[in-house]
């Protein structure tokens, strides 16, 4: 499984990419492989307040709906509109075109509590 080295990870299989104070959030390659064919994504609304560890989005495979937890607290600034018409991007490009939402973090210190790529790789057993 791909675990890019420039990202940080939540134990619940989300990733974040920091660019200044803008944070992009998605799910990992491991998560998409476990979920299998993703057929629907429900991102948060722009402007929504999200809390670290609380449900921010839902993705659904044919078999099951899965909550996506926000890795950080803050407010949602942008959502990936492409996912509405092409939710399979979450499977095919989870770290790129399959991103779910962007947010402004209210406390960037929370990033320190997220897993490093090495720690996340260890968690998923590789």
């Amino acid at each position: 499984m791909n675990v890019p080295t420039d990202l940080r990870y939540a134990k619940t299989h989300e990733w974040i990419r920091s660019e200044g104070d803008t944070i992009t959030v998605g799910i990992t390659d491991h998560a998409q492989a476990e979920l299998t064919d993703i057929v629907y994504a429900e991102p948060p609304k722009v402007g929504a307040e999200v809390k670290a560890g609380a449900t921010a989005a839902v993705v659904e495979s044919v078999k099951a709906a899965s909550d996506i937890y926000s890795p950080l607290s803050g407010s949602v600034t942008e959502v990936n509109a492409e996912l509405a018409s092409n939710p399979a991007l979450l499977n095919t490009d989870p770290f790129g075109q399959g991103w779910i939402y962007r947010m402004k973090a209210s406390d960037v210190a929370e990033i320190d509590s997220l897993l490093t790529p090495e720690a996340y790789s260890a968690q998923i057993g590789q």
């Binding site: 299998t36 057929v39 629907y40 429900e42 839902v58 044919v62 078999k63 709906a65 509405a84």
Partner: protein, 370 residues
Amino acid sequence: MSDPATLKHTPLEACHLASGARMVEFGGWLMPVQYTGIMDEHRAVRSSSGMFDISHMGEVLVEGAGALEWLEQLLTNRVGKLAVTRGQYTMMLNEKGGVIDDLIIYRTGEAAYFLVINGACRDLDLEWMRSRLPSDGSVILKDLGDDYAAIALQGPDSEKILRSLYPSCEVPKRNGIAPLVASDGSIPSLVARTGYTGEDGFELFVPVAQGNGEALWQNLLAAEVKPCGLGARDTLRLEMGYPLNGSDLSPDRTPLEAGLGKFASLDDAAKGDFSGRKALETQRSKGLPSLLTPLKLTVTGPPLRSHYPVLSEGHSVGETCSGALSPSLGKGIAMAYLPPSLATPGTGLEIEVRGRRYAATVVALPFYSK
């Protein structure tokens, strides 16, 4: 989930693991839910061929001079309509008219009937049947559930594949059954032209002994038949509107409420009494309290699942039972017990998913046809 120690294992488990299956608990069995992916498997069955392990289903042989009369009292459809080698869909009801199980019965001999029952209710079904056996020995019931491995070969290419694997096999007509190959012992191998996908196909029953099931699986794999799991089995059957016992059928709902009245021979003078008949007649004269209704989202929305509220003009009128995203239609589909006044095709309703309401309409079955 059931206690892993009590989970039942199919004789084909090693085959599933070798094919990369994801295994899940289903009705007390450890079964493959998917291999490469549900969408992929679903499409294979619609366009070419796929195979499903159905070894969890129960097989019951009913024989004897009193078999026909006894089965007429046990089941809703008129068994006497069946010529030897023919099969029919039918149901076993409790005295309230509720569905204990839905099943297929094949007549395999002059006084021999082969019943295929749902895996999740094998024990309950057998208990119900045994408790009603006549004491004079005129009906002999044999539980062959653990003696058969069973594989459903489904899809438009099924006949071609069956003929290539068994060139001398008699290929049954739709809903028929035939001996598959000469078998070694007391349990015959059987091939039935039935299924749960809406496609042409066969259900193959082979004695579990000596690895017959695994050999059949390997032969089908070599013929490039795609292994398919319970996930695709569910989307395929729901697109056709076939009910799933435990989800769409229950001991508290009658076949009339489930829209399966044509499989209950209430107006056939030759049928006579059967368990649940009085309740069905009462319900028919008084009117149905609800009707199992096919619903389709008219907007892009999430896959539908069980227990989502269904609304009419803002008021809750029921909830979904079976639901899915139809891989063929790309839309959410579901079944729901609704007041009969709302069950007419074209009726506009809403389905609520995580607090959001999505427009839906009542449709006629099947949801999908080629």
